[in-house]
């Protein structure tokens, strides 16, 4: 037993552990997802996160020692976001024709998500700084942190809310759009990307290439729009 503990302590302290755990768990979770006929509840990101998270808590492995390996996956997010230009470029003629309508829908939808969060948060009596941190949760996490700071929220909390929002959207999109009888992939992708940014876009990309492209566009537009209207809201809210 002591040997095992020693071995574990060694393994958990090398970057190899975090990297192996991330990729191997995801590959396994993805295989299960395919087995279930791509059921939304079998979402591979959700189950990878739950499995790895539980393992870390149970073995009392601190997150930073996991992240020392997982960062090699994490760092690829940057170039992946740049690469989203490719699906947008492929559909450039269609997107140019729809430009104004997409902007309008994104503005209305992004505002609706933020307004609901503020309203419901105040009604339920959540602390002020929590409500302020909830406002930018439909914007990709790194930007949400900066925006929450301007609003008087807590950046770290805003990042957590953004990630949770992404997961909620990715997990429930199929059921919600089924209920609303929306079967146009571009509309489904765009709505998912508007509220659930990169995590929504990743899910959309798995389901259909058109949905993925529109979700990527929605994510980029939310960043631009929120960067414009949130500082305006911050001035108004402060005064």
């Amino acid at each position: 037993m002591a040997d095992f503990v020693e071995l574990w302590v060694y393994l958990a302290s090398t970057p190899l552990f975090g990297l192996t755990a991330t990729i191997a768990t995801y590959v396994l979770a993805h295989a299960l997802y395919e087995r279930t006929g791509q059921a939304p509840w079998a979402n591979p990101v959700l189950w990878s996160v739950v499995a790895i998270g539980s393992a870390l808590v149970l073995t009392r492995t601190p997150y930073p020692s996991y992240f020392s390996g997982a960062q090699f996956i994490h760092v690829l997010l940057g170039p992946a976001v740049v690469a989203l230009a490719w699906p947008l470029w492929q559909r450039r003629a269609e997107l140019r024709g729809r430009c104004a309508r997409l902007l309008l829908a994104g503005l209305v939808g992004g505002a609706a998500a933020a307004a609901t969060a503020i309203g419901l948060g105040l009604v339920l009596g959540l602390p002020g700084e929590v409500v302020r941190s909830l406002v930018p949760k439909s914007v990709t996490a790194p930007v949400a942190m900066g925006l929450a700071d301007r609003l008087g929220g807590v950046p770290a909390m805003a990042a957590v809310f953004a990630v949770l929002t992404g997961m909620v959207g990715a997990l429930s999109a199929r059921a919600l759009f089924g209920l609303l009888r929306i079967d146009d992939w571009s509309v489904r992708g765009y709505a998912l990307g508007t509220t659930s940014h990169g995590i929504g876009a990743a899910r959309a990309m798995q389901v259909h290439p058109d949905a993925g492209a529109y979700a990527a566009l929605a994510m980029a537009l939310q960043v631009l729009m929120a960067s414009l209207w949130i500082p305006w809201l911050a001035r108004w809210w402060a005064g």
């Binding site: 309508r101 996490a141 957590v160 659930s196």
Partner: protein
């Protein structure tokens, strides 16, 4: 090799994006600026060919890239426990409202004044 050249290109654009964002102090993430700079460059075939080679692999596995962040959130979820169900309710409901409004608005907007094949 062509995919690796594409990856180098993406990383260079992200780096350029990060540098510009820092130099000008604009509130945009570097990668999003990189995306905006890459778009016009894709009209040039040598760039498009290389980006396509790496983008197809990277975007196909985009979900995997969110696992490390997701684990961080789950592990630290305990800190938010005092806010409990209220916080969960706000996040879930506002996400659904946002998706519903966006989808219905876009469907209504696209339904009119556009040829069916558009």
């Amino acid at each position: 090799m062509i995919a690796l050249q594409g990856l180098a290109l993406l990383l260079l654009l992200q780096t350029a994006g990060e540098l510009i964002v820092r130099a000008l102090g604009v509130g945009l993430p570097g990668p999003v600026l990189g995306l905006a700079m890459l778009l016009p460059a894709l009209g040039w075939a040598p760039v498009a060919r290389r980006v396509e080679a790496v983008a197809s692999v990277l975007l196909q596995h985009l979900s995997l890239l969110f696992v490390p962040v997701g684990v961080g959130v789950i592990v630290h979820l305990g800190a938010l426990a005092p806010l409990g169900w209220k916080l969960g309710l706000v996040i879930v409901v506002s996400t659904w409202v946002g998706m519903t409004v966006t989808a219905l608005a876009l469907r209504a907007l696209l339904g009119k004044s556009e040829p069916r094949d558009g």
